[in-house]
Amino acid sequence: MILVTGGAGFLGKEVVRLLVSQYQQSIRCLVRPGTSDSVFKDLFGGELPGSIEIFPASFNDLESLRKAIQGVDIVLHLAASLTGSVPAQISNTVVGSENLFNVCVEEKVSRLVLCSSFGVIGASQISRNGLIDEFTPMEEHPEFRDPYSFTKHMQEQLAWQFYHEKQLPIVVVRPGVVFGPPVDILSSRVGLSLFGMFLHIGGGNLIPLTYKTNCADLIIKAGLVSDIEGEIFCAVDDDLPSSSYLLSRYKKEVKRIMSIRIPYILLRQLAKLNVWYSVKTQGHLPTVFTPYKVDAMWKGHRFSNKKAKELLCWHPIVSMRESLGKTLGHEAQS
């Protein structure tokens, strides 16, 4: 039995769909109390397959978690807050994960796959055009990054603590930018909309995209392949496009938008100005950009999926050409 947390989320739904339809696995989906099962029925043409059990439980409820984990061999832990303040995200993601990890240790599950994030990687220390892979150290100053990266960093550190001190058999997957319908292809790595104008920040940088089906498949393989406890896998697809290419296709295939290019050098100066103003005015405006965050997100890096291909025999199921076509086509229609 495989337990999936966060199964009602964007990536989680794809994991659930693949587990049932491709891998023929029996799964239990841990969902927030009150979550409608229509989320899962919609994945399978309106009928909930017999191999899926919906289990409502809160991460704060240890007794319910214990019941949820009974009879489970593998846990795919995808649940996490994506938005909100840092305390709210920590409370949901980290405090909840600690409860889950403790229960997994008690019940001796054979594998826990943590869906982490590229945000935990110390990319700001990597030189321009440098390679980011599983050997890149974790972020030294997560507190300088965004709330999501900060939270995921603390969550992954906790997972490693459980691995080393309590022998929780974990495998960590760090997805890049997960995309696919209905998520907008223009992620923050490409740029930001501000006052009706799109600020194109990414320029010629490669965007570490991973299509939802490919990423879900990698997460499942990280749960099923034997003897890989303690390993990390970066989830990025092949043939990564540049930010400029994505924006250009978006303008042609989805809608015309006004955009202005912000070069990396200028963005870094603006980030310095943002920090200076915020300090000078005692937080009148938040520090949306910091030089540290700019370096991590927009300096321009290369990305590798070699390890996943070698150890998990993983290959993208959907090509970049096809996945971009599907995503842009969906955005154009909606």
Binding site: N60, S85, H284
Partner: protein, 365 residues
């Protein structure tokens, strides 16, 4: 002045940021029963002390002031522990769970010679302070009636947290989400009302409909209350449905009316007109435009001068509380005022519960 924070949830961020603006104060420690919550606050704000045990923190840091930003059920016990260790206490709203707890807390503070400040920071918001100045200067004439409204978004940053968890502490408050918020409009109303007893009539509704079959279906999401003190009446509206979400207080005086909107940080006065018939309607609209124009330029100047801080009221209240501790001024909110607000809140919640079955929206719409 050495400051410590107990409870590292969302509102603790605001307290830490506002304290950092006060020259002679420094947050030296944070404490939370959960180590990750304490750690995240300490890391992000570079605070040297990070604790999970209150008594250890009090003994090692010896703070002059402790800000208690925990769930309300723990306010009384934590405040007493802090005062036993010689610290003055700033307590986030709601002050306590109910009036008996508030009375016990104030009595304890008096015995220990400590000061306690309730976090009714909306009364120190610059817009409300301007309205209060107009009232105190007699510009409104004798106040006859007050409308105060507070909106709330159940899908907002905090709403989405407790709506996602039936075991969240908010669901254990007798008055649910209303109890966690209406001390703000109550304190705004009482600031303009005469001293003395307040008569309260109230109704609570659950308009959102039952969806979860647990505690999340139980709380009132709409509250309407009428308050009477002396010859002044007031309406209080707490609404989770109305949009845009806003908090305002509208004071009607014998001379003119004025509305202070805390969201826009504006004050607009309604003077009435002298021109006859249809000309009066034009003059009335012109006066409205003039008021709006003045406030626009006022806020425009303030944003250029970087003086539109979101928690300006909280900063002012904390600053004045610290000054009171140093003997430089009176308490910004007298401790007895915390009792008065709590007693009105108790009355509203009790009325809502007593009238529960009569709620005309019962069952949802």
């Amino acid at each position: 002045m050495k400051i410590a924070i107990i409870g590292c949830g969302q509102i603790a961020d605001a307290h830490i940021q506002e304290v950092s603006k006060i020259a002679n104060a420094k947050v030296l420690a944070v404490c939370d029963s959960n180590r990750f919550m304490a750690k995240q606050a300490a890391l992000r704000f570079a605070i040297p002390g990070c604790y999970t045990d209150v008594r250890t923190m009090l003994v090692e840091v010896k703070p002059d002031v402790v800000h208690i930003t925990t769930p309300p059920a723990s306010h009384l016990s934590l405040a007493k522990i802090c005062m036993e260790n010689g610290a003055h206490v700033f307590i986030e709203k709601p002050f306590t769970l109910n009036l008996p707890e508030a009375e016990e807390l104030i009595d304890f503070a008096k015995k220990k010679g400590c000061l306690v400040c309730a976090g009714h920071n909306y009364t120190f918001d610059p817009a409300y302070q301007r309205l209060l100045d107009m009232h105190n200067e007699g510009k409104l004439g004798e106040v006859t009636h007050i409308d105060a409204a507070m909106g709330y978004n159940l899908k907002g940053p905090f709403g989405s947290i407790f709506m996602g968890d039936p075991r969240h502490w908010l669901h254990r408050l007798p008055g649910g989400v209303a109890q966690n918020n209406i001390s703000h409009p109550i304190s705004l109303i009482l600031g303009l009302m005469p001293a003395g007893n307040v008569l309260v009539k109230a109704l609570g509704f659950r308009v959102r409909g039952e969806r979860y079959n647990d505690a999340r279906d139980a709380f009132f999401d709409e509250v309407r209350a009428v308050l009477v003190a002396g010859h002044v009446t007031a309406n209080l509206v707490f609404s989770c449905r109305s949009r845009p979400v806003q908090t305002f207080v509208h004071a009607y005086g014998a001379r003119c009316a004025a509305i202070a909107c805390l969201e826009s940080r504006t004050v607009r006065i309604t003077q009435g007109v002298r021109m006859p018939g249809p000309f009066g309607k034009v003059q009335w609209a012109a006066q409205d435009a003039k008021e709006a124009g003045r406030e626009f330029f006022r806020n425009f100047k303030k944003i250029l001068g970087a003086r539109l801080h979101y928690f300006a009221g909280m900063e002012s209240l904390i600053r004045q509380f610290y000054a009171a501790i140093e003997g430089k001024q009176e308490m910004p909110i007298p401790m007895t005022e915390a009792l008065r607000v709590t007693s009105v809140m108790d009355a509203i919640i009790n009325e809502c519960k007593a009238n529960d079955d009569k709620g005309c929206f019962r069952g949802g719409v």
